[in-house]
Symmetry: C2
Subunit: 555 residues, 2 copies
């Protein structure tokens, strides 16, 4: 019998984020990426989302390796959750593994010798398969695609990529190896669809340099740039400009600090000696001498940028003459909180710069032409779009049909969603069944502690209960109108709980009284504060972690 | 004593929407525009937002006229609410008034002879002032700016505008009259800031024609286009193309139907005889012969497009070979529901086209260069940015300072927010005080009935109460997990209410059972359905209109 191969995506095919693919040959199962998705306001009380791992637990052969394409949260954020189901090593480039390690530690996992650093063009044997790593360019260093050489044929998983012809670190997209694989014959290509709805070519990371140069030239006060903590190329561009324009650099926010340190340690970020200062030093420096790189580009209520915007950061203040740059795209759903931050900053007199006003951000994902080029290079027998909502996958599929319409050997384009089982065997390739797939909601906020609390497992709400704090806030004065209330469901009906509820009403009033005017009149900020405080209170006092859904009425 | 002038914006300066400005000379008060804002998910249970009208009620002299710049909801949606406070006529162009009239009727207001149609270049006397109307171009026909000639000087309010050099209806932006006013001397300019963060010039409405021509050429099945109901230029382009490509046109959704009828009646829309069909006729026609223009471009759960996307529309179905075009921008906050609609449509096999993929939408607001041009034309003594969140106003102000830096007579740029009182008198211009300003939340859903229910007036939640329906839905199967529950606050504690609550739990189960899989697993859709049904139930049975805040847990 011909060797068979089975591919299942548990995440990333039908949504952006929580990418996870499971590939099984007759003898080996290999997992590619284990990502998370960030929960939006439509999932109240939830912090992170990971794929339903039921299939991973049950699949046969048991997974013997996890391969990581790069260090973004939507590719590695779920590693601690997937870890128990993998009987073998985790392969990734040095930077990727450096970002995985602290996540494992936070979950009390000792990786031992299971984290294996690999390099592009390297090959490792995994059972009856061989995994080969190919360098791709993206918005951070050390990203790879994976070619899995299996008994049934070679499949290529692109990871996230664009084709950056002028990479900041000089590490080029390995167009030659993709071409060789294409010449040798590829059974199936699984390719990133994120930007399939953008025409043309995505620009190089280098492109933002001109805009920032202009900003450095014209800014007389403090310069604050917010970006994703993983934007190491952007950090490098900014640190280099800071050197040229003689500003010291402060990394503000835990993510920025940790990533920059890891990247420097491994040689992915060059920080000139004496150039870096701590955020506590910023108040003692002349505004014109400071560049702050801050977390919170998405308006996350507890992150540095949100705090700075409402004048609630301990060390970094922003005022007239200062410039604040948003060097990241808005993840859909975050537009409003980001807009609120910008308004707060403009009201303090800061010059607020974002994409559109100046070219201060470039996407890390290839646009239509790059995605077509990938198809032409690899010219696979089968093509499956990955990484996107259904409309992106579907568009990528129809563009792929067009690209491959002329080639001699027909390409079979297949549209898969999370949970679909794609099987290759002697009869060809087809979707054979559907395995459990879905989302698991993880609740980790308030403490930074282990994310072990899974909503899925408390189906009836009764285990930890539901709290709905209700408060009416006068939009104009920011004051509380009427009496705040905390509605509960599923809490134990004893005297202790009743007392706890009474106290929580008081806590609710206190939290709002203590908040600044800006915080009180910004629904996103005040809701998050209420949520965090009530959760902390209940956890400490009762050991429970109720779901908290604040209702703010503006009157 | 020199004549004085006082200007107060009650809305539109600090948010997009609910534009309303009050201008008072010594003898007259004139209101310019009376708009609404649409409530996002952060204002649960609320449908519309209008400005706090306290100042309007109290201001002296009493308002003796309302001037409307154009027929968009954010400029006319609040007319019925403002109506009682105006002791005189409402001026607007014929199309604007045609769109206002049904709103008044819905509120049981008989306008009598108070709606006065005006034309560009016309002047009307209002007390000691004279209002002059200037044609501007925008995304709908019959838009004007207003020059108010007051004893203290002339002020110019641009309304919404772009400078469309090739207007669909041949009605050009009145650049000459703006220039004349500028030459004669303008005390203050109040100008639209919506697109100040876009570089260059906004394109003409005509620009989308090429993309649509291509779409008509290549679409073999049904063609469905969703746009704002007020996009009359877009309607004209599409109807003309339908004529050329021999498709019949169905207006789907109440807004589309009413606006197209009003526009045709007044001569703003040419509908060739026999070209229009009703939506009930669509099922009986060949797909290749149909063009549907549907409401719901923003993902409004009850609008035509949302219904079509989940196969819940009675007459219009979409499948493979059909093309659906989103010919409108996403209002910030609506990205996710719009994305969900697109995914549903792609899953049905439709070709989904939106901005970025093809140039199927163009903004109605001028970009940076047009806004600069307005400043150069009018060269006012004082400049106040209007229509924007704080960051847009602030950016418009700083660009204005740059534009006017070189002119011989200094321009005073002033940043105002809602409620600020700008006073012109012998000592010059300055912000003198702050009057009450804020938002009033209007709750009109479920019945289409009179919007007379103002949250502001039920401060303690206790008058109509709060309902929090809680239900856990299995994301994968769409089935209900555990027992749904309805939490209440502020309902009367009698036997009748208890019975009502019990029944509402049953209703909640029924509503979810009756919903399609797609509806059940789409938070936005199912929440809105639950909200509408529970509200209707309580209104019928108890005469109350509780605030309904559904909590959906995905498990």
């Amino acid at each position: 019998m011909a060797p068979s191969l089975q591919v299942v995506a548990l995440g990333g095919l039908g949504e952006f984020g929580m990418n996870l693919m499971v590939v099984s040959s007759d003898e080996s199962t290999i997992v590619i990426d284990a990502g998370v998705m960030f929960a939006g306001p439509e999932l109240p009380g939830v912090d992170l989302v990971i794929p339903d791992l039921t299939y991973l637990q049950q699949c046969s052969p048991r997974p013997s390796a996890l391969v990581l394409t790069h260090g973004h949260e939507d590719h590695i954020g779920g590693v601690p959750h997937v870890w128990p189901f993998i009987d073998g090593p985790v392969y990734g480039t040095p930077l990727t593994l450096a970002l995985v390690r602290p996540k494992l530690e936070e979950h009390g996992i000792n990786p031992g010798d299971r984290l294996i650093a690999v390099q592009p063009r390297q090959r490792v044997r995994i059972g009856d398969c061989e995994a080969e790593f190919l360098r791709v360019t993206h918005s951070m260093p050390d990203c790879i695609a994976v070619a899995l050489h299996t008994p049934a044929g070679t499949i290529v998983h692109t990871g996230d990529f664009k084709i950056d012809q002028t990479p900041i670190d000089g590490q080029h997209f390995d167009v030659h190896r993709f071409a060789q694989l294409g010449s040798a014959g590829v059974l199936a290509l699984f390719a990133d669809s994120t930007n399939i709805d953008r025409k043309g070519f995505t620009g190089s990371e280098l492109e933002v340099k001109d805009a920032f140069e202009e900003i450095f030239t014209t800014t007389t006060g403090k310069l604050v740039v917010t970006a994703f903590a993983s934007s190491i190329y952007r950090m490098q561009i900014l640190v280099d400009l800071a050197e040229r324009f003689d500003r010291k650099v402060a990394f503000v926010g835990r993510g920025m600090l940790e990533t920059s340190q890891a990247a420097q340690r491994l040689g992915y970020l060059r920080l000139p000696p004496g150039r870096i200062v701590r955020d506590v030093d910023v108040p003692n420096m002349a505004a014109s001498e400071v560049l702050c790189l801050a977390t919170g580009s998405q308006g996350e209520p507890m992150a540095a940028m949100s705090r700075i915007a409402i004048d609630g950061h301990r060390h970094v203040k922003v005022g007239p003459d200062d410039t604040v740059v948003f060097s990241a795209r808005a993840i859909p759903g975050n537009e409003k909180p980001i807009g609120h931050m910008m308004n707060h900053l403009a009201r303090r007199g800061a010059n607020v710069i974002y994409e559109g006003i100046k070219h201060v951000h470039v996407s890390g994902h290839g646009s239509e032409e790059e995605l077509k080029l990938m198809l032409s290079l690899v010219r696979p027998q089968h093509f499956v779009p990955i990484h996107g909502e259904y409309r992106q996958l579907s568009r990528h599929a129809s563009i792929a049909r067009r690209v491959t319409a002329g080639v001699e050997r027909a390409v079979k384009v297949m549209l898969m969603e999370d949970g679909d089982v794609l099987r290759f065997d002697e009869t060809g390739a087809r979707l054979v069944e559907k395995v459990p797939a879905g989302r698991v909601l993880i609740d980790a906020s308030g403490s930074g502690e282990v994310a072990d609390e899974i909503l899925r497992d408390r189906r009836h709400l009764s285990e930890d209960g539901l709290l709905v704090p209700v408060v009416a806030i006068n939009k104009q004065t920011g004051s509380i109108e009427g009496d705040p209330d905390v509605i509960s469901r599923g809490l134990a009906q004893d005297a202790g709980s009743a007392e706890l509820l009474r106290e929580s009403v008081q806590l609710l009033s206190d939290v709002i009284q203590a908040a600044s005017f800006e915080e009180r009149t910004d629904q996103g900020l005040i809701k998050e504060t209420i949520r965090v405080e009530l959760r902390r209170f209940f956890r400490k006092r009762s050991g429970r972690r109720p779901l908290v859904v604040p209702v703010i009425m503006e009157v």
